[in-house]
C-alpha cells in the first residue's frame, strides 16, 4: 500500500471522517476565499509602525522614537495627510499603492488592562473578558460556515507544533511544523492508530496530523511535477519544498541520524533573527492554502514586539523586526501566486503602547494601536481611522492612544464579507457580547 493511500485509510480508521473531504485531485482553482491571520504577540507599537506624522502632538511626545515626515531623509512612507508607514515596511507600502492594504488605526479589542497574556487571550478567544473560553474565534467561525462542500473537511491549518488558542475548537483543523525526522513506516503508524482508537484526543490529533501531512505531500509532489514541467518553479524552489519532500528527508541509519542532528542547526545567535523564522513559516502557510482542496485559513504567530527598551526609530530594534515581517508578507504573496487575489491577510496585536517615550528609549504597555488587512481580495489603499488625536486631554488615561474602533468590528467584517460566516453566528458563537461592534462593510472586493 502506498503511504498516501495508507494515510487516508489509517486516519479514517483512527479518527473518524476528518479526511473525507480531502481529495487528491489536481489543483482546480475554485476561487475560494482564503484568510491568513497573523498574531503579533507582545503589543506592536502602532504609533511607530503607522506614525501619525501629521498630528501636531506626535513629534514632541515620541522623543527619540519619532519617525520623520514623509519626504524627509529616513522619513515615513507617505499614506495620506496624517499617516505614514514605517520606512521598513516597503512591501506593505507597495500593497497600499496597489489598493490592497487597509490600515485600521486607533483600534483596540474590548480588553483594557495592559497584561500581555490576558490581552492575547481576549485577542484569541474573541470574548469580552479574558479566560472566558478554551476555544478561539477563528475556529468557531470555521465551524459556523455553511457546510456546502464537505462538512468534515480540514478547514484551517496552524503553522505551529500546537495550534494557538485562536484556532482551537470544534471545527476540523490541523497544525503543521517542519520536522527533520524520518517518517514512520506504514505498519508502525497503523499500530499506533489502533492504539489510539479508543483515545478520543490522541486519535483525533493523529488523524489531523496525517491530514496535514497528506496535504503537504501532495503539495510537494505538485511542486516537483511543476518543476519538472518548467512551470511554477518559482514557488517550488523554496526550502518548504525540500522540507516536505519525503524523499529529501534524512534516511541515514538511525544512529547517524540522532548523533548528527545537533550540528545541522544554524548557530544560536542566528536563530534569534526574526527574518529566518518567518520566511519558513510563510512558505508553509502559502503551500497549504494554495491548494484548491486544502484548508482555506492559515494562522501563525510572531513575537518580539514588546519594545520597552531601545525601541529605535527608522533604524534599530523594532525597525529590524518590521523589515522581517514586511519581507515575510512579500514572501507570502509570492508563495500564493495567483491565489493572492483570493486572499485576505489580517494582522493584529493585543494592544498598543504608551504614546510618550518611556525612561529607557522604549514604550510601555498602552491601549489602542493599528491593525492591518491586506491581500488581493482586499479593497484597500486607505487608512480607516476616527483619529482621536494625541493632545494631552485626548489621551486614554493620560498616557495611551484612545481607542475609537473595536477590533472585533474589523474581524467580523472580514469573516462576514470574505468567508461568508453568517451574521447570526458572528454575534452569538464567534464574538459573544460584541453587538456594539458592528461589522465593517466594504473591506473586500466583491
Amino acid at each position: 500500500m502506498k503511504r498516501r493511500e495508507f494515510l487516508t485509510a489509517g486516519a479514517l480508521a483512527a479518527g473518524g471522517t476528518l479526511l473525507s473531504g480531502l481529495t487528491f485531485a489536481g489543483v482546480a482553482n475554485g476561487n475560494k476565499p482564503r484568510l491568513v491571520f497573523i498574531i503579533l504577540r507582545g503589543a506592536l507599537d502602532g504609533l511607530e509602525a503607522v506614525p501619525p506624522c501629521g498630528d501636531p502632538a506626535y513629534a514632541a511626545l515620541r522623543g527619540e522614537l519619532e519617525i520623520a515626515r514623509p519626504g524627509t531623509n529616513g522619513g515615513a512612507l507617505a499614506l495620506d495627510g496624517i499617516f505614514g508607514l514605517h520606512p521598513a515596511l516597503s512591501f506593505m507600502h507597495q500593497t497600499y499603492a496597489a489598493r490592497e492594504l487597509i490600515i485600521f488605526h486607533a483600534v483596540a479589542g474590548p480588553y483594557r488592562n495592559r497584561s500581555h497574556f490576558d490581552g492575547q487571550n481576549v485577542l484569541e478567544t474573541g470574548y469580552a473578558q479574558p479566560h472566558a473560553a478554551q476555544t478561539g474565534w477563528l475556529n468557531r467561525a470555521l465551524a459556523a460556515l455553511p457546510a456546502a462542500r464537505a462538512p468534515e473537511k480540514t478547514r484551517g491549518v496552524s503553522i505551529a507544533p500546537t495550534a494557538p488558542l485562536v484556532m482551537r475548537g470544534p471545527a476540523a483543523v490541523t497544525s503543521w511544523s517542519p520536522s527533520h525526522l524520518a517518517p514512520l513506516d506504514d505498519d508502525t503508524l497503523q499500530r499506533i492508530s489502533d492504539l489510539y482508537s479508543h483515545d478520543p484526543v490522541l486519535g483525533r490529533k493523529l488523524a489531523e496530523a496525517l491530514a496535514a501531512e497528506a496535504i503537504a505531500e501532495q503539495s510537494a509532489a505538485r511542486s516537483r511535477d511543476a518543476m519538472a514541467g518548467g512551470a511554477g518553479a518559482h514557488f517550488a524552489a523554496g526550502a518548504f519544498g525540500s522540507m516536505m519532500d519525503t524523499s529529501g528527508r534524512m534516511t541515514m541509519a538511525p544512529d547517524a541520524r540522532m548523533g548528527q542532528r545537533a550540528d545541522r542547526r544554524p548557530p544560536l545567535a542566528q536563530r534569534g533573527r526574526p527574518g529566518a523564522q518567518y520566511a519558513q513559516v510563510v512558505r508553509a502557510a502559502a503551500r497549504f492554502i494554495r491548494q484548491a482542496d486544502g484548508p482555506q485559513v492559515a494562522v501563525f504567530d510572531t513575537t518580539g514586539w514588546d519594545t520597552h527598551f531601545n525601541e529605535g526609530n527608522e533604524k534599530g530594534q523594532l525597525a529590524a523586526r518590521l523589515a522581517a515581517l514586511d519581507a515575510a508578507l512579500g514572501g507570502l504573496k509570492a508563495g500564493l501566486g495567483p491565489v493572492w487575489s483570493d486572499t485576505a491577510v489580517l494582522l493584529a496585536t493585543e494592544f498598543g503602547r504608551t504614546v510618550a517615550e518611556n525612561g529607557t528609549r522604549g514604550t510601555d504597555h498602552g491601549t489602542a494601536t493599528a491593525a492591518y488587512l491586506l491581500g488581493g481580495a482586499v479593497k484597500g489603499g486607505r487608512v480607516v481611522a476616527d483619529w482621536p488625536g494625541l493632545s494631552p486631554r485626548q489621551l486614554y488615561q493620560d498616557r495611551d492612544l484612545r481607542p475609537t474602533l473595536d477590533l472585533r468590528a474589523v474581524m467580523k467584517g472580514v469573516l462576514a464579507e470574505h468567508l461568508g460566516v453568517p451574521a447570526r453566528a458572528l454575534e452569538s458563537a464567534v464574538f459573544p457580547e460584541s453587538g456594539a461592534a458592528r461589522p465593517l462593510k466594504g473591506l473586500v472586493r466583491t
Partner: protein, 481 residues
C-alpha cells in the same frame, strides 16, 4: 488519608510528581508514593555543579570585556581620518574577531548549562525536587531569545532558583527580582526615577533627554510573579512599584573601583526615585533599596499571591482544571506558613485529589524527553544535552519566549504536529535502541498499574523489539502523566 492500591500510588508519584520512572524505581518506591515524595523534601536542595559552569558575574564580566573591545574598535574606525582608513579599521581582523566572539562566548555556555540540567534531570533520585525547580524557573521565567540571556539563563537558575526551592517563597522572589538576568530580561537596569539625581544630571547635560522609569519589571512582578493579574492592583500600582524598583541595577565593568564585583546586583542610589510610594494601599517611606525589599516581602505575603501560586502548582501537578479543594488547601498552607515552600509542597501531595485520575495531563515536551531518557536509559553524550530535540518538539530549553513562561495546559502541547513529531522520534529511538531493550518487560516497570491492557498487548505483539520500544514511548499513558 486513604489512598488507592499501592501499585497505583507509586506509578502516580513517579510519573505525575517525578520525571518518569527509571527501571527499578517503582519497586524502590514500594508501597507509598506519598512517603517517597515526602522523603525528597528532606535535606538541602540538590545543586547542579560540574566542571566549567560559571557564575553570572563571571559571564557578565567577560561580556563587558568583549563589548569594550568592540567599542574600542568602533572608536578607532570613527577616528580614522580617511574613508579608506575607516573601512580598514572597521573591517580589521580585531573588530571582526571581537564581534564573532560574543556568540562564541554564549553558545558553549548555553550548551554546558543545558547539558548539566538535562543530565541531572535524567539521573536524579529526587525527581520531585527537580520538577519543582523547573516549575519555579518557569514561574520566574527569563528567555534566551533576548540579548545575552542565553549566557545567563543557566546560572540564573542555579543562583536565584535552586538554592530557594526548599526555602521560603519571599527569599526566592527577592533573589530573582535582583538577579542580573531578570534585571536585563525585564529592562530594569537602566530604569531611573524622573526626579533622581542621575536623571537630573542627564537632563542638565542633554536638554533633549527625559530619562525615567521603565515599567516592565514592576508590571510582571505584580502580574506574573506575585499577586497575579486579578490580584487587585491598578496601573497606579504598576507605576509606583516601577519607581520603588528604580536603582535596582547591575554593577558595571568599572565597579571594582568602589569595591563591587562587576556583573553582580548593584543598588544605584543616584537612580532611585526619592520619596514615599504607595503600592496596593500600603505606604512605603523612601528607604532606598530596602523600600523595594519591603514591598516584595508584602507582595509575597499577600493572599492573592498564595492563591495564585497554589493554583499554578495544582494546575502543574494535578489537572488542567485544578480541583478547588486542593487549591484551597495549598493556598492555606502557603499563608499559614508564610511562604515556607516544603509546607506548601506537603499540602499539595497530601491532597487526595492529587492521587485521583491517573494520566490526566499531557506531558510537556521536556518531561516527555526526560522521561524517555530515564525509562529507557538512553545514552547521553557527555557534556551535551540533545538541545535540538527540545527545540524540535517545541520546548527549547529556557526559551519560553515570554516572561509568562511556558503554558501549562494539555491543550498547549497536544497539537497534531507535536504529537506526530513525538511519534517520529519514538520511532527513531526504537530503531536505534530497540534491539537492546525489552519493552514488554520495561512497560510495567515504568508505568506500573497505569499501563493499560491495550498498550501491553500492542507492545507484546509488536513485529520487532524496535517497534515495541516505539509503541511504549507513543502509548497514551506514556505521553501523559
Amino acid at each position: 488519608m486513604r489512598l488507592m492500591d499501592n501499585g497505583l500510588t507509586s506509578a502516580i508519584a513517579a510519573n505525575r510528581f517525578g520525571l518518569g520512572a527509571r527501571p527499578g524505581e517503582l519497586a524502590a518506591i514500594g508501597g507509598s508514593g506519598l512517603d517517597w515524595l515526602r522523603a525528597q523534601l528532606d535535606g538541602p536542595a540538590p545543586e547542579i555543579g560540574g566542571d566549567g559552569l560559571q557564575s553570572s558575574a563571571s559571564l557578565l564580566t567577560q561580556i563587558y570585556d568583549l563589548r569594550r573591545t568592540i567599542q574600542a574598535e568602533r572608536m578607532r574606525a570613527a577616528a580614522a581620518r580617511s574613508v579608506d582608513e575607516r573601512q580598514a579599521a572597521a573591517g580589521s581582523a580585531a573588530a571582526i574577531g571581537a564581534f564573532k566572539k560574543l556568540p562564541q562566548l554564549i553558545r558553549p555556555v548555553y550548551l554546558a548549562e543545558a547539558g548539566a540540567r538535562f543530565r541531572h534531570s535524567v539521573s536524579t533520585d529526587r525527581p520531585f525536587i527537580e520538577r519543582l525547580a523547573q516549575f519555579w524557573s518557569n514561574h520566574f521565567a527569563v528567555s534566551v531569545d533576548k540579548g545575552v540571556l542565553a549566557a545567563l539563563a543557566g546560572s540564573y537558575e542555579r543562583e536565584a532558583i535552586r538554592p530557594y526551592v526548599l526555602g521560603n517563597f519571599s527569599d526566592m522572589l527577592i533573589a530573582t527580582q535582583r538577579h542580573p538576568a531578570m534585571l536585563l530580561y525585564l529592562d530594569n537596569e537602566m530604569s531611573m526615577g524622573p526626579d533622581s539625581r542621575a536623571a537630573r544630571n542627564i537632563e542638565r547635560r542633554n536638554p533633549g533627554r527625559r530619562p525615567g522609569i521603565n515599567e516592565n519589571l514592576a508590571r510582571e512582578t505584580l502580574e506574573l510573579h506575585t499577586v497575579s493579574v486579578d490580584g487587585g492592583y491598578t496601573q497606579a500600582d504598576v507605576t509606583a512599584l516601577s519607581k520603588v524598583l528604580t536603582g535596582w541595577s547591575i554593577a558595571g565593568p568599572e565597579a571594582w573601583r568602589f569595591g563591587q564585583r562587576p556583573g553582580t546586583f548593584l543598588f544605584r542610589a543616584a537612580m532611585h526615585q526619592p520619596g514615599p510610594q504607595v503600592v496596593m494601599g500600603k505606604r512605603y517611606p523612601d528607604t532606598g533599596y530596602d523600600q523595594g525589599v519591603a514591598v516584595l516581602r508584602n507582595l509575597a505575603a499577600h493572599p492573592s499571591t498564595a492563591r495564585f501560586i497554589a493554583t499554578k502548582l495544582a494546575r502543574h501537578f494535578i489537572a488542567d482544571a485544578p480541583p478547588a479543594p486542593a487549591v484551597d488547601r495549598v493556598a492555606a498552607a502557603f499563608s499559614r506558613s508564610k511562604g515556607d515552600l516544603p509546607t506548601v509542597y506537603r499540602a499539595l501531595i497530601g491532597s487526595p485529589e492529587a492521587w485521583e485520575q491517573p494520566v490526566s495531563k499531557f506531558k510537556t515536551p521536556s518531561d516527555f524527553i526526560v522521561s524517555s531518557f530515564r525509562g529507557l536509559a538512553l545514552p547521553i553524550r557527555p557534556e551535551k544535552a540533545p538541545v535540538w530535540l527540545f527545540q524540535l518538539l517545541g520546548q527549547r530549553i529556557w526559551c519560553p519566549g515570554s516572561p509568562a513562561g511556558w503554558p501549562d495546559g494539555s491543550a498547549d502541547w497536544d497539537g497534531a504536529s507535536e504529537l506526530l513529531k513525538r511519534i517520529e522520534w519514538a520511532d527513531a529511538v526504537g530503531q536505534r535502541i530497540g534491539p537492546r531493550r525489552d519493552a514488554r518487560q520495561l512497560a510495567p516497570r515504568l508505568l506500573g498499574s497505569v499501563l493499560s491492557a491495550t498498550a501491553r498487548e500492542a507492545i507484546a505483539h509488536a513485529e520487532s523489539a524496535a517497534q515495541a520500544v516505539t509503541l511504549l514511548l507513543a502509548a497514551p499513558e506514556f505521553l501523559r502523566r
